[in-house]
Symmetry: C2
Subunit: 208 residues, 2 copies
Protein backbone atom coordinates (compact mmCIF):
# COMPACT_ATOMS: atom_id res chain seq x y z
CA UNK A 1 0.00 0.00 0.00
CA UNK A 2 1.17 3.51 -0.86
CA UNK A 3 1.99 5.99 1.85
CA UNK A 4 -0.88 8.39 2.45
CA UNK A 5 -1.28 11.48 0.30
CA UNK A 6 -0.43 14.42 2.52
CA UNK A 7 -2.51 17.61 2.46
CA UNK A 8 -1.42 20.86 4.19
CA UNK A 9 -4.23 23.16 5.36
CA UNK A 10 -4.14 26.61 6.99
CA UNK A 11 -5.33 26.30 10.61
CA UNK A 12 -8.63 27.97 11.41
CA UNK A 13 -11.51 28.96 9.17
CA UNK A 14 -9.95 27.74 5.94
CA UNK A 15 -9.20 24.23 7.24
CA UNK A 16 -12.83 23.98 8.43
CA UNK A 17 -14.12 25.05 5.02
CA UNK A 18 -11.69 22.70 3.26
CA UNK A 19 -12.56 19.53 5.15
CA UNK A 20 -16.28 20.24 4.85
CA UNK A 21 -15.88 20.72 1.11
CA UNK A 22 -13.71 17.61 0.75
CA UNK A 23 -16.26 15.57 2.69
CA UNK A 24 -19.13 16.81 0.52
CA UNK A 25 -17.19 15.46 -2.47
CA UNK A 26 -16.50 12.13 -0.69
CA UNK A 27 -12.76 12.80 -0.52
CA UNK A 28 -12.54 12.58 3.29
CA UNK A 29 -14.42 10.22 5.61
CA UNK A 30 -15.16 13.04 8.09
CA UNK A 31 -16.44 16.59 7.72
CA UNK A 32 -14.70 18.15 10.74
CA UNK A 33 -11.38 17.99 12.51
CA UNK A 34 -11.37 17.19 16.22
CA UNK A 35 -11.60 20.30 18.36
CA UNK A 36 -8.19 19.87 19.97
CA UNK A 37 -6.49 20.30 16.61
CA UNK A 38 -3.56 17.97 16.49
CA UNK A 39 -0.90 18.86 13.99
CA UNK A 40 -1.15 15.68 11.90
CA UNK A 41 -4.55 14.07 11.38
CA UNK A 42 -4.94 10.78 9.48
CA UNK A 43 -7.91 9.69 7.38
CA UNK A 44 -6.89 6.03 7.14
CA UNK A 45 -10.04 4.97 5.31
CA UNK A 46 -9.21 7.36 2.46
CA UNK A 47 -5.40 7.09 2.60
CA UNK A 48 -4.96 10.77 3.48
CA UNK A 49 -2.98 12.65 6.07
CA UNK A 50 -3.67 16.30 6.97
CA UNK A 51 -1.15 18.80 8.30
CA UNK A 52 -2.72 21.79 10.08
CA UNK A 53 -0.22 24.66 9.98
CA UNK A 54 -0.10 28.45 9.68
CA UNK A 55 -1.49 29.87 6.50
CA UNK A 56 1.83 31.51 5.57
CA UNK A 57 3.63 28.14 5.90
CA UNK A 58 1.38 26.08 3.61
CA UNK A 59 3.17 27.31 0.46
CA UNK A 60 6.60 26.31 1.83
CA UNK A 61 5.38 22.85 2.91
CA UNK A 62 3.95 22.07 -0.53
CA UNK A 63 6.83 23.67 -2.42
CA UNK A 64 9.38 21.61 -0.43
CA UNK A 65 7.38 18.38 -0.77
CA UNK A 66 6.63 17.99 2.94
CA UNK A 67 3.01 17.89 1.71
CA UNK A 68 1.78 16.72 -1.72
CA UNK A 69 -1.21 19.04 -1.82
CA UNK A 70 -2.35 22.16 -0.02
CA UNK A 71 -5.14 24.68 0.17
CA UNK A 72 -4.14 28.33 0.15
CA UNK A 73 -5.65 31.73 -0.62
CA UNK A 74 -4.98 33.25 -4.03
CA UNK A 75 -3.83 36.42 -2.21
CA UNK A 76 -0.93 34.59 -0.53
CA UNK A 77 -0.05 32.74 -3.77
CA UNK A 78 -0.03 35.97 -5.79
CA UNK A 79 2.21 37.70 -3.24
CA UNK A 80 4.73 34.89 -2.70
CA UNK A 81 4.91 33.04 -6.03
CA UNK A 82 5.69 29.56 -4.68
CA UNK A 83 6.90 26.87 -7.09
CA UNK A 84 3.64 24.90 -7.01
CA UNK A 85 0.86 24.00 -9.43
CA UNK A 86 -2.57 25.58 -8.91
CA UNK A 87 -4.99 23.40 -10.89
CA UNK A 88 -8.27 24.22 -9.09
CA UNK A 89 -10.01 27.31 -7.69
CA UNK A 90 -12.17 26.37 -4.71
CA UNK A 91 -15.54 27.97 -3.86
CA UNK A 92 -14.69 29.27 -0.39
CA UNK A 93 -12.28 31.65 1.35
CA UNK A 94 -13.58 34.63 -0.63
CA UNK A 95 -11.99 37.94 0.28
CA UNK A 96 -10.42 40.96 -1.38
CA UNK A 97 -7.23 42.90 -0.96
CA UNK A 98 -8.38 46.52 -0.66
CA UNK A 99 -7.06 50.02 -0.24
CA UNK A 100 -8.58 51.78 2.78
CA UNK A 101 -8.10 55.21 4.36
CA UNK A 102 -9.37 57.06 7.47
CA UNK A 103 -12.98 58.17 6.97
CA UNK A 104 -13.16 61.56 5.26
CA UNK A 105 -9.39 61.92 4.72
CA UNK A 106 -9.35 61.75 0.94
CA UNK A 107 -6.32 64.01 0.44
CA UNK A 108 -3.88 61.07 0.25
CA UNK A 109 -4.40 60.80 -3.52
CA UNK A 110 -2.81 64.21 -3.98
CA UNK A 111 0.26 63.53 -1.87
CA UNK A 112 3.62 63.42 -3.59
CA UNK A 113 4.48 60.29 -1.66
CA UNK A 114 1.78 58.08 -0.17
CA UNK A 115 2.80 55.92 2.78
CA UNK A 116 1.04 52.57 2.50
CA UNK A 117 1.05 50.00 5.34
CA UNK A 118 0.50 46.39 4.27
CA UNK A 119 1.38 42.71 4.70
CA UNK A 120 1.45 42.44 0.89
CA UNK A 121 4.38 44.61 -0.27
CA UNK A 122 4.76 43.09 -3.76
CA UNK A 123 1.11 43.25 -4.85
CA UNK A 124 0.77 46.72 -3.35
CA UNK A 125 3.92 48.10 -5.02
CA UNK A 126 2.91 46.75 -8.41
CA UNK A 127 -0.64 48.15 -8.17
CA UNK A 128 0.44 51.70 -7.32
CA UNK A 129 3.42 51.64 -9.69
CA UNK A 130 1.19 50.73 -12.64
CA UNK A 131 -1.04 53.71 -11.83
CA UNK A 132 1.84 56.17 -11.56
CA UNK A 133 1.65 56.76 -7.82
CA UNK A 134 4.80 57.36 -5.86
CA UNK A 135 4.51 55.38 -2.61
CA UNK A 136 6.55 54.24 0.37
CA UNK A 137 5.70 50.72 1.51
CA UNK A 138 5.62 50.18 5.27
CA UNK A 139 5.64 46.41 5.67
CA UNK A 140 3.90 45.40 8.89
CA UNK A 141 3.06 42.02 10.39
CA UNK A 142 0.44 42.88 12.96
CA UNK A 143 -2.82 44.82 12.98
CA UNK A 144 -2.66 46.75 9.72
CA UNK A 145 -5.98 48.50 10.37
CA UNK A 146 -4.52 50.59 13.22
CA UNK A 147 -1.61 51.92 11.12
CA UNK A 148 -3.20 55.25 10.00
CA UNK A 149 -4.28 55.94 13.61
CA UNK A 150 -0.68 55.73 14.82
CA UNK A 151 0.55 57.96 12.00
CA UNK A 152 2.82 55.37 10.40
CA UNK A 153 0.88 55.41 7.11
CA UNK A 154 -1.65 57.44 5.12
CA UNK A 155 -3.56 54.41 3.81
CA UNK A 156 -3.50 50.63 4.16
CA UNK A 157 -3.80 47.71 1.76
CA UNK A 158 -5.31 44.78 3.65
CA UNK A 159 -7.57 41.74 3.34
CA UNK A 160 -11.26 42.50 3.65
CA UNK A 161 -14.02 39.92 3.87
CA UNK A 162 -17.10 41.45 5.49
CA UNK A 163 -15.72 44.97 5.93
CA UNK A 164 -16.56 45.02 9.66
CA UNK A 165 -12.95 45.43 10.79
CA UNK A 166 -12.52 48.48 8.54
CA UNK A 167 -15.72 50.04 9.89
CA UNK A 168 -14.74 49.37 13.51
CA UNK A 169 -11.45 51.22 12.92
CA UNK A 170 -12.98 54.23 11.16
CA UNK A 171 -11.67 53.31 7.71
CA UNK A 172 -13.31 53.69 4.27
CA UNK A 173 -12.69 51.16 1.52
CA UNK A 174 -11.38 52.76 -1.68
CA UNK A 175 -11.18 49.82 -4.04
CA UNK A 176 -10.09 46.21 -4.34
CA UNK A 177 -6.70 45.53 -5.91
CA UNK A 178 -7.16 41.71 -5.95
CA UNK A 179 -10.12 39.36 -5.51
CA UNK A 180 -9.27 36.07 -3.89
CA UNK A 181 -10.65 32.61 -3.14
CA UNK A 182 -8.97 29.41 -1.92
CA UNK A 183 -6.89 27.39 -4.41
CA UNK A 184 -5.79 23.77 -4.47
CA UNK A 185 -2.01 23.70 -4.83
CA UNK A 186 0.14 20.69 -5.79
CA UNK A 187 3.84 19.90 -5.41
CA UNK A 188 5.38 19.49 -8.90
CA UNK A 189 7.14 16.20 -8.04
CA UNK A 190 3.97 14.73 -6.51
CA UNK A 191 2.13 15.83 -9.67
CA UNK A 192 4.39 13.46 -11.63
CA UNK A 193 4.74 10.53 -9.23
CA UNK A 194 1.25 10.49 -7.73
CA UNK A 195 -0.55 11.77 -10.80
CA UNK A 196 -3.30 9.13 -10.83
CA UNK A 197 -4.48 9.80 -7.27
CA UNK A 198 -4.23 13.56 -7.59
CA UNK A 199 -6.04 13.64 -10.94
CA UNK A 200 -8.81 11.52 -9.51
CA UNK A 201 -9.17 13.92 -6.58
CA UNK A 202 -9.32 16.93 -8.91
CA UNK A 203 -11.91 15.22 -11.13
CA UNK A 204 -14.04 14.51 -8.08
CA UNK A 205 -13.73 18.07 -6.78
CA UNK A 206 -14.65 19.64 -10.10
CA UNK A 207 -17.45 17.18 -10.98
CA UNK A 208 -20.18 19.20 -9.24
CA UNK B 1 4.56 72.12 26.04
CA UNK B 2 6.18 69.60 23.75
CA UNK B 3 4.19 66.71 22.35
CA UNK B 4 4.86 63.52 24.31
CA UNK B 5 7.83 61.34 23.49
CA UNK B 6 6.44 58.20 21.90
CA UNK B 7 7.77 54.75 22.81
CA UNK B 8 6.89 51.58 20.84
CA UNK B 9 6.95 48.32 22.82
CA UNK B 10 6.39 44.71 21.73
CA UNK B 11 3.11 43.44 23.23
CA UNK B 12 3.44 40.74 25.86
CA UNK B 13 6.33 39.74 28.07
CA UNK B 14 8.74 42.36 26.75
CA UNK B 15 6.37 45.32 27.29
CA UNK B 16 5.82 44.10 30.88
CA UNK B 17 9.57 43.90 31.49
CA UNK B 18 10.12 47.28 29.84
CA UNK B 19 7.57 49.26 31.84
CA UNK B 20 8.72 47.65 35.08
CA UNK B 21 12.32 48.58 34.24
CA UNK B 22 11.37 52.12 33.22
CA UNK B 23 9.43 52.59 36.44
CA UNK B 24 12.34 51.35 38.58
CA UNK B 25 14.41 54.10 36.93
CA UNK B 26 11.67 56.71 37.53
CA UNK B 27 11.02 57.14 33.80
CA UNK B 28 7.33 56.14 33.96
CA UNK B 29 4.82 56.96 36.68
CA UNK B 30 3.41 53.40 36.66
CA UNK B 31 5.01 49.94 36.66
CA UNK B 32 2.30 48.06 34.76
CA UNK B 33 0.00 48.57 31.81
CA UNK B 34 -3.73 48.06 32.33
CA UNK B 35 -4.82 44.50 31.70
CA UNK B 36 -7.07 45.37 28.76
CA UNK B 37 -4.07 46.57 26.75
CA UNK B 38 -5.15 49.52 24.75
CA UNK B 39 -3.02 50.31 21.76
CA UNK B 40 -1.92 53.79 22.89
CA UNK B 41 -1.28 54.45 26.58
CA UNK B 42 -0.36 57.89 27.89
CA UNK B 43 1.82 58.71 30.88
CA UNK B 44 0.84 62.39 31.11
CA UNK B 45 2.81 63.02 34.27
CA UNK B 46 6.03 62.06 32.49
CA UNK B 47 5.15 63.35 29.00
CA UNK B 48 5.29 59.88 27.44
CA UNK B 49 3.04 57.89 25.16
CA UNK B 50 3.36 54.13 24.68
CA UNK B 51 2.38 52.16 21.59
CA UNK B 52 1.85 48.44 22.22
CA UNK B 53 2.33 46.59 18.93
CA UNK B 54 3.68 43.33 17.53
CA UNK B 55 7.33 42.70 18.13
CA UNK B 56 8.06 42.46 14.39
CA UNK B 57 6.47 45.90 13.83
CA UNK B 58 8.44 47.86 16.45
CA UNK B 59 11.42 48.30 14.11
CA UNK B 60 9.25 49.74 11.32
CA UNK B 61 7.45 52.13 13.69
CA UNK B 62 10.71 53.59 15.02
CA UNK B 63 12.44 53.60 11.62
CA UNK B 64 9.52 55.51 10.07
CA UNK B 65 9.28 57.95 12.98
CA UNK B 66 5.80 56.86 14.11
CA UNK B 67 7.58 56.34 17.45
CA UNK B 68 10.69 58.17 18.71
CA UNK B 69 11.98 55.27 20.78
CA UNK B 70 11.39 51.53 20.96
CA UNK B 71 12.44 48.39 22.77
CA UNK B 72 13.32 45.40 20.62
CA UNK B 73 15.30 42.16 20.88
CA UNK B 74 18.83 42.11 19.49
CA UNK B 75 17.82 38.96 17.50
CA UNK B 76 15.21 40.92 15.50
CA UNK B 77 17.56 43.89 15.03
CA UNK B 78 20.39 41.66 13.77
CA UNK B 79 18.08 39.91 11.28
CA UNK B 80 16.32 42.98 9.89
CA UNK B 81 18.87 45.81 10.09
CA UNK B 82 16.48 48.70 10.59
CA UNK B 83 17.75 52.27 10.16
CA UNK B 84 17.68 53.08 13.86
CA UNK B 85 20.19 53.88 16.59
CA UNK B 86 20.77 51.32 19.34
CA UNK B 87 22.44 53.23 22.18
CA UNK B 88 21.57 50.96 25.14
CA UNK B 89 21.46 47.22 25.89
CA UNK B 90 18.76 46.46 28.46
CA UNK B 91 19.04 43.78 31.17
CA UNK B 92 15.98 41.70 30.20
CA UNK B 93 14.61 39.69 27.28
CA UNK B 94 17.56 37.27 27.38
CA UNK B 95 17.37 34.45 24.85
CA UNK B 96 19.54 32.74 22.25
CA UNK B 97 19.12 31.76 18.64
CA UNK B 98 20.09 28.09 18.55
CA UNK B 99 20.47 25.18 16.18
CA UNK B 100 18.41 22.15 17.27
CA UNK B 101 17.83 18.68 15.80
CA UNK B 102 15.67 15.64 16.64
CA UNK B 103 17.10 13.75 19.65
CA UNK B 104 19.72 11.22 18.56
CA UNK B 105 19.67 12.16 14.84
CA UNK B 106 23.17 13.57 14.58
CA UNK B 107 23.74 12.57 10.92
CA UNK B 108 22.62 15.98 9.58
CA UNK B 109 26.18 17.34 9.89
CA UNK B 110 27.34 14.87 7.24
CA UNK B 111 24.59 15.68 4.72
CA UNK B 112 25.56 17.30 1.45
CA UNK B 113 22.69 19.72 1.83
CA UNK B 114 21.14 20.45 5.21
CA UNK B 115 17.56 21.72 5.19
CA UNK B 116 17.17 24.34 7.94
CA UNK B 117 13.75 25.70 8.99
CA UNK B 118 13.83 29.14 10.61
CA UNK B 119 12.21 32.55 11.03
CA UNK B 120 15.72 34.08 10.77
CA UNK B 121 16.90 33.34 7.21
CA UNK B 122 19.66 35.97 7.08
CA UNK B 123 21.40 35.15 10.37
CA UNK B 124 21.05 31.43 9.66
CA UNK B 125 22.45 31.64 6.11
CA UNK B 126 25.43 33.67 7.25
CA UNK B 127 26.23 31.33 10.14
CA UNK B 128 26.28 28.16 8.02
CA UNK B 129 27.95 29.86 5.05
CA UNK B 130 30.86 31.01 7.22
CA UNK B 131 31.35 27.43 8.41
CA UNK B 132 31.32 25.95 4.91
CA UNK B 133 27.98 24.12 5.19
CA UNK B 134 25.74 23.84 2.17
CA UNK B 135 22.18 24.46 3.34
CA UNK B 136 18.68 25.10 2.04
CA UNK B 137 16.74 27.64 4.08
CA UNK B 138 13.05 26.86 4.63
CA UNK B 139 11.60 30.14 5.88
CA UNK B 140 8.60 29.47 8.10
CA UNK B 141 6.36 31.78 10.11
CA UNK B 142 4.64 29.38 12.51
CA UNK B 143 5.77 26.72 14.95
CA UNK B 144 9.35 26.09 13.89
CA UNK B 145 9.84 23.35 16.50
CA UNK B 146 7.52 20.94 14.65
CA UNK B 147 9.35 21.28 11.32
CA UNK B 148 11.63 18.20 11.63
CA UNK B 149 8.62 16.07 12.69
CA UNK B 150 6.79 16.90 9.46
CA UNK B 151 9.88 16.19 7.35
CA UNK B 152 10.21 19.71 5.95
CA UNK B 153 13.68 20.19 7.49
CA UNK B 154 16.60 18.30 9.07
CA UNK B 155 17.29 20.90 11.74
CA UNK B 156 15.87 24.20 12.97
CA UNK B 157 17.33 27.53 14.04
CA UNK B 158 14.99 29.09 16.57
CA UNK B 159 14.80 31.29 19.68
CA UNK B 160 15.40 29.45 22.93
CA UNK B 161 14.93 30.93 26.39
CA UNK B 162 14.42 28.11 28.90
CA UNK B 163 14.77 25.19 26.49
CA UNK B 164 11.43 23.65 27.56
CA UNK B 165 9.83 23.96 24.10
CA UNK B 166 12.74 22.09 22.52
CA UNK B 167 12.49 19.32 25.13
CA UNK B 168 8.73 19.01 24.70
CA UNK B 169 9.25 18.50 20.97
CA UNK B 170 12.04 15.93 21.26
CA UNK B 171 14.79 18.27 20.05
CA UNK B 172 18.40 18.60 21.22
CA UNK B 173 20.16 21.96 21.23
CA UNK B 174 23.39 21.96 19.23
CA UNK B 175 24.73 25.44 19.82
CA UNK B 176 23.78 29.08 19.97
CA UNK B 177 24.44 31.21 16.89
CA UNK B 178 23.45 34.51 18.60
CA UNK B 179 22.90 35.61 22.20
CA UNK B 180 20.27 38.30 22.59
CA UNK B 181 18.82 40.76 25.08
CA UNK B 182 16.46 43.72 24.67
CA UNK B 183 17.83 46.95 23.19
CA UNK B 184 16.66 50.54 23.32
CA UNK B 185 16.30 51.83 19.76
CA UNK B 186 15.95 55.46 18.65
CA UNK B 187 14.70 57.09 15.45
CA UNK B 188 17.59 59.07 13.86
CA UNK B 189 15.52 62.23 13.36
CA UNK B 190 14.22 62.15 16.94
CA UNK B 191 17.84 61.67 18.06
CA UNK B 192 18.60 65.08 16.55
CA UNK B 193 15.45 67.04 17.36
CA UNK B 194 14.66 65.59 20.79
CA UNK B 195 18.23 64.93 21.83
CA UNK B 196 17.99 66.51 25.30
CA UNK B 197 15.03 64.42 26.45
CA UNK B 198 16.38 61.21 24.97
CA UNK B 199 19.88 61.72 26.37
CA UNK B 200 18.41 62.36 29.79
CA UNK B 201 16.41 59.12 29.58
CA UNK B 202 19.48 57.16 28.54
CA UNK B 203 21.55 58.66 31.36
CA UNK B 204 18.86 57.69 33.85
CA UNK B 205 18.59 54.15 32.47
CA UNK B 206 22.33 53.57 32.57
CA UNK B 207 22.96 55.29 35.94
CA UNK B 208 22.42 52.11 38.02
Amino acid sequence: MDKPLRIALPKGRMSDDSVEYFHRHAITSFSKFAVDRELIIADKEKGLEFLLIRSKDVGAYVEQGAADIGVLGHDVLAEHKFEVLTPVALPFGACRLSIAYPNGKTDWQNKRNIRVATKYPKLTSRYFFERGFNITIVELYGSIEIAPLTGISDVIVDLVSTGNTLKANGLSEEESILDSTARLIVNPVSWVFRRAEISKMIDTLTAF
